[in-house]
Amino acid sequence: MRKLFLIIFIMAWLSPDVFSKDTINILTTTEDLKSIAEAIGGDKVKVDSLGRGYQDPHFIQAKPSFMIKTKNADLFIRVGLELEIGYEDLIIDGSRNPKIRIGTPGHLDASEGVGLLEVPTTTKVDRSMGDIHPMGNPHYWLDPENAKIIAYNIAKRLSELSPSDEAYFQENLKAFNRKIEEKMVEWQKKMEPFKGRKVAIYHRSWPYFADRFGLKVACELEPKPGIPPSPGHLKEVIDIMRRDKVGLILMEVFYDEKPARFVAEQTGAKVIIVPNSVGGTDEAKDYFSLIDTIIGKIAEGFEN
């Protein structure tokens, strides 16, 4: 017994926790949040993400190793709007970290203050509607204007956690916003020729992006959010695409391409596989290159 205690004591002593920390450990649920948190936190933070950009953000699993990552976090940042409903509670409870529990300064819902799309207007929301998000579509990070809101939320929270670095975070926030504004001119210019064009999408990851850059979503390959395409529904999609002359199918990197390829074959449309998150493909290294990649591929798709 004494030996066991000794081992535990030595292990506790060896653990990195006991070393004093100057940096704030941030854990995000997605790589998009990670990229923005890095831009704002600079060298005052160390950021890790639970999810990877090339996986479906709805289906991240509550691995015990994630609980250890969460245990070591000073700030937990989530997308919110129930995107993390499948694993967040299990990981936070399992981490035994009281600092990042919901309602504490160490827990940030990045969606605070974002103008939401697709908030259900029906009086009742239930699973007959698929994997619906009762508070609105959670893929808001794909609108660069919303990235500014995320950045603002992160800067505000970091300033609360480390008031002595407030000026630094605010300076980084300004620089981030300036870069978004500069890039926005470039992005809008690139998308200008395609304003008003219709696209088909696989999952409802794209409404915020489409809304910002003037694309119109004609239909989705999923009959309902989170429900895989059925032959009957694909027939409807084909009809809509033929009727509305939709030439592009926009889809994420982690879905089965077969249904999209089938529809493309039937309609002559083009399938564009684009990352919907930082890290989704090699080009999408950070938030800016993510939007660059998406816009580049869409432009290429429309042009050819």
Partner: protein
Amino acid sequence: MKKSFIILVISFLSVLLSASNARPSDLAQLQQELAALRAQIADLKRSYEARIAQLETRIEDMAKTYTIEAAKPRVAAPAPIQSAGMGRYFQSFNPDVSVIGDFTYHTTDTKEEEFRNQFQMRQTELAFSASVDPYARGDFFFHVEQEGGEWHIGLCEGYLTLLTLPIDGLQAKAGKFKVEFGKANKYHLHNLPWVDFPNMVRNYLGGEGMSEPGVSASYLIPNPWDKYIELTGQVINNRNGMSFAGGEGTSLCYLGHLKIFHDINESSSLELGASLMAGPNDDGLGRFGTNMTTLEGVDLTYKWRPLQQGLYKSVTFQNELLFSQHDRPFLDDGADIIEPKAVNSWGGYSSLEYQFARRWSVFGRYDFSELPLSSSSRENAYSAGITFAQSEYCFWRLQFKHTDRNFDKDSNEIWLQCDFGLGPHRKHEY
């Protein structure tokens, strides 16, 4: 127009002003100054006009952007979180409530089975969970089952979890819970990867695993490698009838469990568990607490799920072994109790599940199990099945199982199972 007028007035006034101070002798100088002034004013006018023109273009540009912004079908509701969440406000203090049905059709060549060739609502689980206060959460799982002609509701689990204990990494539970012995014991019927519990669990821990009232403490052991190493200690009532004292047991059982989780890479992981449990058993002679049972268990689970194709492909290879030392007194010829002798027996299973499409997976399981009181009684069972997950909340499963027994007749069984859940039932552990 306005601009030219102002400039005119200014020029007029300045001329007037200079004229009033003029002396006839300075007339030439005055004229010179006037010319200079005119030139100056013209300069000013030019520069102002240029700047105004610049401003006007900027305003026009801004107006354009503004129209784009305003024309957007932005947010349906101005305060979406609040409006969408109205229902939630009213329900905020209610626990999450879920109901999960487990429905089967079971056919077997064992004639004694109660639900032979019958449909059966095998179990309905009612689950309630919520935060109790800032320090703890509560979880309740009630099971409604049919026994004979009657329906019974029982408490499968009902426990409080203390989440914010002052010792870093420590968490405690109090109430009735599924004990932390191995991996399969913790499943509920609806989240089993098979239709039935492995023989090992049924023979040593109970039909649906062992769940007893008690207390539990678990600690995440800090380590230099930042691995998940969890040590759990539990003290529970000694009322388990399979390996311990049974319904009339008055003593306690003690359990320890070590769980180590290792990410091999981002798509595959290995989990290793070791369990140890000890307590007095029912010695079969109506004396409780005199003889001991000790159970040891090891479990090893390998999981593979490539992140990018995670919706469509996965493999789970799960294995468990259980060893039992069950003290048992024997009667000699004169019916005197002689010294207890341990019955050493064991059981185990190995299961492989392969998900080959978004909704489809197949599995196979091999079971080996002796009986706690007879190491010479053996079961070998072979199961195979297929699962169709209609959605995350509903699946259908077909399973075939053949069991060889050296102490009873062999059996063949087929199940068709359908599980369906309502409500936000908390996801189970990884």
